[in-house]
Amino acid sequence: MTPLVQVKNVVKIYKRDKLEIPVLQNISLDVPEGEFLALMGPSGSGKTTLLNLVSGIDQPTSGSIIVAGTDIAKLNESALAKWRSRNIGFVFQFYNLMPVLTAYDNVELPLLLTNLSKKEKKERVEMVLKVVGLADRMDHYPKQLSGGQQQRVAIARAVVSDPTLIIGDEPTGDLDRKSAEEILILLERLNQEFKKTIIMVTHDPHAAERARIIHHLEKGEFK
């Protein structure tokens, strides 16, 4: 079976003024469907850069990134935006919820890019809020929620459109131990119960243990 994600000979070089900063050097990686992968590595090793490429918010300097059969390195900007809305669920370190929107409205955002009916949207939003255990908080604004609760809203937002892949860049990085534990249990459940493919960057070995497999990145290369 072909892997869900195939990163092939990817090079990423940032150009700042005339200076070239090589970040990823000829990297290859396969992620099978249903995987829960943890990416570890020292600061500056290129973990976020790799995630950005796989999630289609950045383009590689060379190489190809094939996700569910699509080479996303070849898509133009607007095709890529559409692709992201269908295939990627983002979980950010600082949750990145819209402060002026309620939990419900935040979770609904990805669905505004779909053709689902009003009723279907409502059902989906309520369903995922139930999965993350915040059905009773859907009218709360982010600032009325704890960090752990906000991250759970963010996870609900990440899964509401049923994406191919869930991408988390240090999803527990800003949380205390207990909240972090809850988030990890939730991610584990999404992987095991709902068969979601997850790629997560983390500095916390404890967190990484939750994943099925751990990859180490160092100076832009897998160890």
Partner: protein, 391 residues
């Protein structure tokens, strides 16, 4: 535009102070802008109301106002014999040979400040000719006497112009024996007397200014025009529908108010447009991560552009509505100023029209559009990764 309107509206609501100041600035400019348009329209409305569709006013072609027009007695006599002039039950022509002069009177509350007032000499048919003129107090002046009746605005605003008072001009004292009102036309800003008495006092016997008469049938106006073109004795004169005549008299004044007012408000509007721009730039800067997040979720650049533009338009339309509702209160006020087409005082009220509402709100939206454009473009052009790293 996929970004929900809630997002735009709540951001507007949340930044109370900055949006408040911006809204206030736009409201202020819109207030001035609409006040100017209402003033110009008020002048027009007042003068249009002055004339009637059923009357014809004859003036000298070369004159650009009533006071600079001269008609001699023999012309008036010819005009009175025209078949197009309506007759009353006694068979007399419904017409008024009028002598229009300007005098100086002291304005109340200005400690001796003078202004010009139109005095109109009229004939005894004038009330039949202009039925909207109503005597409100006292009596009609007697023909052959130095008596006057005074319009409601003049009696309110000028010293000595009250019932029983005397005003002095042309070397004589004239007694005020009555007051009249027309519910807001330009005649309210006039004094009326006997046409012949005025000619005597100003040493211009037989020197009328204009001649106004009731047309026997409206359709006869075209026929009347040909008579004026063909009769050599009338070729220097031009008949016009009275309403149209006064309407044309209002154009110069209204245009002057508009041009001056619009010039001033455009300068003001630069200030509030820049204000809107600063507000929107700071909104974009404060919400960089949110912009990056929207983009990561798959929202397009043009959705971001639209959202910020809409927020700016929202600010400006709220400002516009506030400014407009403030200026709509001006409708309850009357002001009096020198109308330089007649060189005399004219009282009018600020008047609002649907057209002014549309112009004013479009002007507000234009400020929002211009102010919001560059910030919205900046927001839409942001690089996703840099925007996400801003947190």
């Amino acid at each position: 535009m996929k970004i929900p309107f809630k997002y735009i509206f709540r951001n507007f609501k949340n930044r109370k102070l900055t949006t408040g100041i911006t809204v206030f600035g736009i409201a202020l400019v819109v207030f001035v802008f609409s006040a100017v348009l209402m003033m110009a329209y008020g002048v027009q409305k007042t003068l249009i109301q002055t004339g009637s569709d059923e009357n014809v006013l004859v003036a000298r072609k070369s004159a650009n106002g009533e006071i600079s027009s001269i008609l001699t007695q023999d012309v008036v006599d010819i005009l009175n014999t025209l078949t197009q002039v309506a007759k009353n039950n006694e068979g007399r022509p419904v017409s008024s040979g009028e002598t229009v002069v300007v005098i100086n009177l002291i304005k109340k509350g200005t400690e001796g400040g003078m202004s010009n007032v139109t005095v109109r000499g009229v004939s005894d048919q004038v009330f039949t000719l202009r039925p909207h003129v109503k005597l409100t107090e006292g009596r009609m002046f007697l023909f052959g006497k130095r008596e006057l009746i005074v319009g409601s605005s003049i009696t309110k605003r000028f010293e000595g112009a009250q019932l029983g008072g005397k005003v002095r001009f042309a070397g004589d004292n004239w007694t005020i024996v009555g007051l009249f009102d027309t519910e807001g036309s330009g005649f309210d800003s006039e004094i009326w007397g006997d046409s012949e008495q005025l000619q005597d006092a100003f040493n211009r016997r037989g020197g009328f200014s204009t001649f106004t008469f009731r047309l026997n049938q409206k359709e006869n106006f075209a026929e009347l025009k040909t008579i004026f073109e063909n009769d050599p004795r009338l070729q220097q004169f031009e008949p016009k529908i009275e309403r149209k005549y006064f309407e044309e008299q209002s154009e110069a004044m209204a245009a002057f108010i508009r041009i001056l007012g619009i010039f001033i408000t455009i300068i003001f509007s630069l200030g509030s447009t820049i204000g809107a721009m600063i507000t929107m730039y700071s909104a974009v800067a404060n919400r960089t991560t949110e912009i990056g997040t929207f983009r990561a979720l798959g929202f397009r650049r043009r959705s971001i552009l639209g959202a910020f533009l809409l927020e700016s338009l929202f600010i400006s339309i709220i400002g516009g509505l506030i400014g407009l509702s403030l200026s709509s209160f001006l409708q309850f006020f009357k002001i009096s100023t020198l109308n330089f087409s007649s060189f005399s005082e004219l009282e009018f009220s600020f008047s609002l029209s649907p057209q002014i509402v549309i112009y004013t709100l479009s002007f507000a939206l234009l400020m929002g559009l211009i102010g919001g454009f560059l910030p919205a473009v900046r927001a839409s052009r942001m690089n996703i990764i840099n925007a996400l790293r801003a947190s």
